[in-house]
């Protein structure tokens, strides 16, 4: 199974990279962009067939090491 983890700075936490890219887009006349947030994506190929167990396992990985929940939120998508 493939687990896709997306990690972003929490809502309300200023994202310096997103802000810089937003500014660059504006400079290049790409108007109408309200906000840019930059995160990271981690793709895990895991040896697990059961969705619930996989979710449990990856959540634990996120809480332990993949994300720093002081500043970051994460989402997990599973695909067989």
């Amino acid at each position: 199974m493939r687990a896709t983890v997306n990690i972003f700075l929490k809502e309300g936490v200023l994202d310096p990279q997103g802000k810089a890219v937003h500014h660059a887009l504006h400079t290049l006349h790409f108007d109408g962009v309200k906000e840019v947030r930059i995160g990271k994506q981690i793709i895990l190929e895991i040896d697990e067939k059961d969705n619930e167990k996989a979710m449990e396992k990856v959540t634990k990985m996120c809480e332990t090491v993949l994300a720093n929940t002081v500043v970051e939120d994460y989402t997990i998508e599973l695909a067989k």
């Binding site: 700075l9 200023l14 310096p16 990279q17 810089a20 090491v65 720093n68 002081v70």
Partner: protein, 226 residues
């Protein structure tokens, strides 16, 4: 004995060793795979650098090294621990200090001599300084933008855990990297674990531009030995 754990990518362990020795104490650089601190360890200094290439997040992988388990135990038993730069980031990731680091607000790697102002001195790190005193030290980091939630910030204030803030040469606070309230250094509630982004070990000889680091590093080491 002052233990200096180092990880793949750490690059300040020799400077730290040199400074500790110069101040008259006995340093011991310890590889991260060690599971115990050297016998007779009186304090731990987690040095700066780029442990594990800053992969994932600064300090995120180093915190799981075997030696960090020993450092955590040492700190939990009241042992004195100081994290400098990447060492500070490792202590944040390991939960020994509250909060987290983000990329500098201007996204630059900032490498310069800066002043920090003493905010609280009721701790063994800054007890030989006065509140408001300026200390000049080099900084060299890309992720020193300190962040914590409001509840944590309130606790930091209540327990006098904010110890250093960035300032200009006149003592006016300045926001160097986006840090909440210009924070450059903090300690834990029990005041035995300290973290700061500036490098006191690189400011221990006037030929290097400043010897201000000797005062705070020396006080930390003296308290640890006593």
């Amino acid at each position: 004995m002052i233990a200096i754990p180092f990880f793949p990518g750490t690059n300040c362990e020799r400077d730290t060793e040199h400074a500790v020795r110069k101040l008259g104490f006995e340093p011991k650089v310890v590889w991260h795979k060690e599971t115990a601190l050297p016998s007779g360890t009186k304090a731990v200094i987690v040095p700066g650098g780029f442990s594990y290439g800053d992969y994932l997040r600064s300090g995120a992988i180093a915190r799981f090294s075997p030696i960090m388990k020993a450092v955590k135990e040492f700190a939990d038993n009241g042992g004195m621990v100081l994290g400098i730069c990447n060492g500070f980031q490792i202590l944040l990731e390991s939960g020994l200090l509250p909060g987290a680091m983000k990329r500098n607000e201007n996204l630059h790697f900032i490498s310069s001599h800066e002043y920090v102002k003493v905010i609280n001195n009721n701790n063994s790190f800054l007890s030989e300084t006065n509140i408001g005193e300026l200390i000049q030290m080099p900084i060299a980091h890309a992720e020193g933008n300190y962040f914590c939630d409001e509840k944590t910030l309130k606790e930091l204030h209540e327990n006098t855990q904010i110890i250093l803030k960035y300032a200009d040469k006149n003592g006016n606070e300045k926001n160097l990297n986006g840090s909440i309230e210009n924070i450059a250094g903090i300690c834990n509630k029990t005041k035995n674990v300290f973290g700061l982004m500036p490098h006191p070990e690189r400011a221990c000889e006037s030929v290097l531009g400043s010897s201000d680091g000797t005062k705070i590093l020396g006080s930390f080491l003296k308290k640890a030995i006593s």
